[in-house]
Each structure stands twice: as C-alpha cells, then as structure tokens.
C-alpha cells in the first residue's frame, strides 16, 4: 500500500494532548489542525492550522471539520451534533460521535456499563442538590457533574450528611465510594479493521485533594491474573462501544482482586504519557495509527517507568517559571515534557516528567523526591 501523508487531520482541542499528538504526527509528515477556545493554547504555534474557536458550537465545529479528512478530539466536551453531521457527510470521525455522546455524560456512561455487563460502582442520578438527601445510604460517595467535569473539576466528595451542601445543584450522579486496593488504567486501541491492542496495565496514585493523577507507575505490580483480566476488560469495553481510536479505561482493583470500571476517556490520556519513553509505541502514535487504519504498534514496556504530573504551585498564578528543572536534568533517564502554557495557576497541569529505568522501586524513590524539588511558580 502507498502511504499518503497529505491526509488532513482536525483535532478538537489544542491542549497538551494535541501538542504531543502533533509531536508524534510529525514523524509521518501528517499535518494537524487544531481548534481551541484559548487563543494561546499549547498547540497554537505547532498546529498546521490553528483556529481559535468554540469546540462546543455547532457551526464552528462543522466548518472546521468540513475542510479536513479525519476528525478527532483531545477532550470529550465538544459539539457532538456537528460531529454527527460530519460523519453523515462522509468524514472519518474517530472516536465516533455516538461514543462521545455516551462518554461525555457520566450518567449515560454509567448506564452503558450496566447495559453491557461491565462492572462499575453503584450510583444514582441526581437532578438537583435537593435529591442528595434521599441517598445518604450511599455515603461516603462522589457527586460528579454529568457533563463538563475535567481534571478534578466537577467532582465533590460527600463523606457524611454534613457535606451534602457541597453537592452540585445540577444534573449529576452520586457514586458510592468503593473500597478498592488500587487504581489502575488500561489504554486500548482499535482501528477500522477491528484490530485491538492494549497497553500494559499501569497504577495511578492521585493527589489526596485535587482528584488529579500525581504519580503513575509502569508496569503495575499486581497479580498476573488481575493484569490479564484488566486488559480483557478494556478490550470488552472498546468492543462494547464498537469504537475506533484510543480508549483509556480507568479501573479499581478491589481487595478480592475483582475489577470495576471507574470511567473512560475516548482519547489519549494522562495515564499514557509514560508510553512516550517507556513503551515501544507511544499512546500518541497509537492513536494516529488507529484513526488512520494503520497497523497498531507493539505496546510492550521498554523497562519500568514512573510519570509525575507537574502541577502549578498552589500559591502562584502568572507567567510560569520552572524551579529545579536544570538539576533534574542530571538524573539519568529523566524526560521532561512541558506543555507550552505561558500562565501557571494553582494545580494547573503544566507538564510531566517520566523517569525510565530498570528498577521500579528506585524510580519511585527518585520520583517522590523529584516531585518536591520541581516547583512551578510565577
């Protein structure tokens, strides 16, 4: 077959995920256009065409997608109706709009799991804050906005009845806390031919308050059977969605070794950043391979890896400066990825660091001390 790099790809969203996708797509001469509401989005100077626009607006998304061959996303909160119209016009839209419609609404997403016999935690629909008091038997629980939650926003923890007033007065779900042993993620890819490939399981450690991934460990140190089950479960989910593209499936490992799906993202994901240096094929290249119907790449690890999210210092906002990066560059196997964001804000995702080596325990120790020594201030 002859590979024609002149195929044009449109990405809704122009943040760090789009930026790392462009970085990978350069290897295939692919030109990527991005649309983002932020005129200084991370992709601004790197996209072949950057459109400063509203990705939730029907007309803007339609006009943007209509001049490209393949349309994809780096965020779920996009105008699905426009993507459906683009699909009707014969464009390749991956993930498919119907998948985005289900996943972008945490309520529909949870219902989908129930319908497809995919294990997930107990939940109820909440229409307004008033409803919460009817479900105190579910506490402690997480109250999650059905739409527009992202990077720790749109989630409130309701531990006891005293916290009920923290809940959202908006369509949301209340999700019973599960007493899990570990949080893991499996990224799975599928192309139009129906080929499926999963990445090895990783473990996630969250920031205690911000609901943001703080550390990622690859490979996971869980039992081989559970690992195999997790990869099978991810395959089951992408098959159930009948989707093309990349799907990050976040799961809980329960104390009895069983698995529950926490949530999914039909795109490249924070839990796959380590794959750039840590795996044979990166999640960004795999996404491109999947949406262009190319053969999927081998996902094996090249060793152990720890990823650290670099978040804006809680007390700083303004033009970003990076303390401790120079010194960190002395560490063998340390790879820094800054996201091209001029302005830092408390807990804003400004970049990540991946440590690659053979001894996961040593990498974890290095990571915990590195986390303290790098500060993003204004």
């Amino acid at each position: 077959m002859t590979f024609d790099p002149s195929i044009s790809i449109a990405v809704l969203g122009g943040g760090q995920l789009g930026r790392m996708m462009i970085q990978s797509a350069m290897n295939l001469n692919l030109e990527i256009s991005c649309m983002d509401p932020d005129p200084n989005a991370p992709c601004k100077n790197l996209a072949s065409h950057f459109v400063n626009g509203d990705i939730t607006n029907y007309d803007e998304v339609l006009a943007f997608g209509d001049v490209h061959d393949v349309i994809t996303v780096e965020i779920e909160n996009v105008n699905v109706e426009a993507l459906e119209e683009l699909e009707r016009r014969g464009k390749k839209v991956f993930p498919q709009p119907r998948v985005l419609r289900t996943i972008k609404d945490k309520g529909l997403q949870k219902e989908f799991y129930l319908e497809h016999d995919i294990p997930t935690s107990e939940f109820v629909f909440i229409h307004s804050k008033e409803d919460l008091k009817d479900y105190t038997d579910l506490l402690p629980a997480a109250n999650k906005l059905r739409t527009e939650g992202y990077d720790g926003r749109g989630v409130q923890i309701i531990k006891t009845e005293a916290d009920l007033n923290k809940g959202f007065d908006a369509p949301s779900i209340l999700e019973k806390f599960v007493d899990y042993a570990k949080e893991i993620s499996v990224i799975v890819a599928r192309n139009e031919k129906g080929e499926i490939s999963t990445f090895p399981v990783v473990e996630l450690e969250y920031h205690p308050e911000q609901n943001l991934v703080e550390f990622l460990f690859s490979p996971s140190e869980i039992d081989a059977t559970i690992r195999a089950n997790a990869r099978k479960l991810a395959e089951k989910v992408i098959t159930a969605f009948d989707m093309v593209g990349l799907l990050a499936v976040e799961m809980f490992v329960m104390k009895d070794g069983s698995l529950m799906v926490n949530e999914c993202a039909p795109r490249t994901h924070n839990s796959g950043h380590h794959t750039i240096e840590g795996n044979i094929t990166s999640q960004f290249e795999q996404h491109i391979r999947a949406i262009l119907n190319l053969p999927l790449g081998n996902t094996d690890t090249k060793g152990s890896a720890v990823m650290i999210n670099l978040l804006g210092h809680p007390d700083h906002a303004g033009t970003a400066k990076y303390q401790g990066i120079d010194e960190a560059m002395n560490i063998t196997g340390m790879h820094v990825h800054l996201y091209g964001k001029k302005i830092t804000k408390p807990f804003r995702k400004m970049g990540h660091v991946t440590l690659v080596g053979q001894d996961l325990q040593k990498l974890k120790e290095t990571a915990r001390s590195l986390k303290e020594s790098i500060k993003i201030i204004a």
Copy 2:
C-alpha cells in the same frame, strides 16, 4: 536554578535537522525560529517564526540573529561574518563562528587536524582542475570542494588518471584514499561549563555510489579498546576546537586498529538519528542542553539500533508518495521519521527509519529487506 523557557533560539537552516530539533525542544517549551532559503523547508510550519531568507547573506543573517538570544546552525554553509558580529554584540552563538569558519572549508579543516596532531588522511590543496595531474601519486583519491559540499554533493572519486577530468575546476582538496576497515562516527557534546559527553560509537555503511550514509549500526562491533580510543579522539577534537555544542566526528578504523578523522560536522548529524529511540538522550536534546549550558544527558544505548536513510527513488521526481510504510509499521521496534518534504528527487534524503531491539544481527537482516520494500516515488 530557575529554568526560563522564554529564551529564544534561532537556527540557520530549516531542514530535517532543525525539524527534529524543534520536535525535541517542544519538551522544554522552547520556541525556535528558523531561516531557510526554501520557502517550503521542513521547518516551515513548525518553527515559532520561519524566515524565508538567505543564510549565506550577511545582512539577512544579522537581522535574523539579532532578535534572538541564542543562535545555532543545522548546516555549516552560513554567513560566518554575520555570526561573528552577533557574537560581538553579546549573543550566544554555538557552535562559535570561528569553528564554523574552519570546518566549512574542508582545506582549513584538514590543516586544523595537522596542527592539532589529529590523525587524518594525506591531502593536497587544489586550485583548479589543472593541478590534479600533478598529484597522480595520490590516486586513488577523493576530490572534494573546499566549501558547499553536502550530502554527497561536492565530492568526485578519482580512481585513475582517466578520471582526472571528473575533478572540480575550483578550490578543492585531493585526499588520498585510505585502506580502512570500517567507517565509524562519534558524536560529542560540550557545554559552556566545559562538560563533555560522547555518544557510543556507531558504524556507518555508505551507498556505494552516492557518498550518502545508507545504514547505521549501533552500537559498533569493534574492539573495546578501539571504541574507547574513538571516544577519546572525539573529545580531543572538540577540545581542540574549544567549541560549545554538538560535534559529529566521522572516522576511519584502519586495518591495524588505528583511527583517522575523516571529517567533522559541528551540529546534529545523520549519524545520530538513531539516538532518538536508541539512546537515553537523543542528539537533538543533547544539542539543546549543550547550547543552553544545561547538564548534558546520559548517552547510553537502550539496546541495539539500525538506522536506514530513506532516499528518493533514483527514477522519480515530484510530489512524494511512500510505498511500503504501512507494511513496515507491522515490525516491532520500527520507528519512521519523514522529513516533511513535499517533493522527492533522486537520492534526496526524505526520511529515515530506526529499528530498535536487542539482537543487532536480526535488526541488520530486517533493515536490509526493509530498505528494498520502502520506495519513495512521485
């Protein structure tokens, strides 16, 4: 120390080397501007600022460099006088203009080796074609233009007296063929603090007619003492030049195990492309670290690697199409890098492929068959 990514970097040249430098510089939020005479140069859409200009013109180079903090090159054939003026104005210019002045002239380069007791092959200066007939005792030999030779251009092989008419009627050198066992390359980096770091030795296999690297093998399979000597020799050369930046030192390994320097390039180099996936730090990141006076990265190999240059098919010129890339994507550890060139020409460097794995012999076999199956046609 606080790392400030707002430092601005100017690159003279906007080809594949600049493009892969930008790809790496993205990880540090660094903005890179490029100047290139080709309005469709590979960096055009990826540089923060792309200036279509003449990099050999004093005024254009001065104006371009003057609005940046650090100036570097991806090709030697640039206006050195303008770089000297920029240096006088307090700009960081790495490699230093005096190094470029010596290296861009193959005659001065050879004289430099003699002066600094760096082993190199026997040569004479040629002023015009007429001179050649006085040096038939040097045959077989290579007649090389003193300046402007690049990628196989500017070199004529003079095997016997019958070939004398193929020689250049221009300032050139005539270099006696050396009966070497292998061609190798060592890339060495040096920062302003004087820290020096060499990459492991690689072996090069040239296209039989085009004087272009066809295959690169990493690590080299030569004796450990020769390897150590080669790294020491590269350190000696960069120290003799007292230069900051990256220096590729191409060498011959003689049949008795001694070394001769063939030629140098004070920049990222074709013999370092495999480092992107094959070594802990890539040559592109190392170059950036060196010119910004950051700590140099660890250069260890991550396994074995073979790099194949993808050259335009000898019978095709026009809009490039890539045969066999899809199929090649089934090979585990195959990484393709296309250079963003719309137009292919016979033997034009259009991209490269790196195969990474543990067994160098198997990688070599795969590489030789892959070389036949990928065709860049119009």
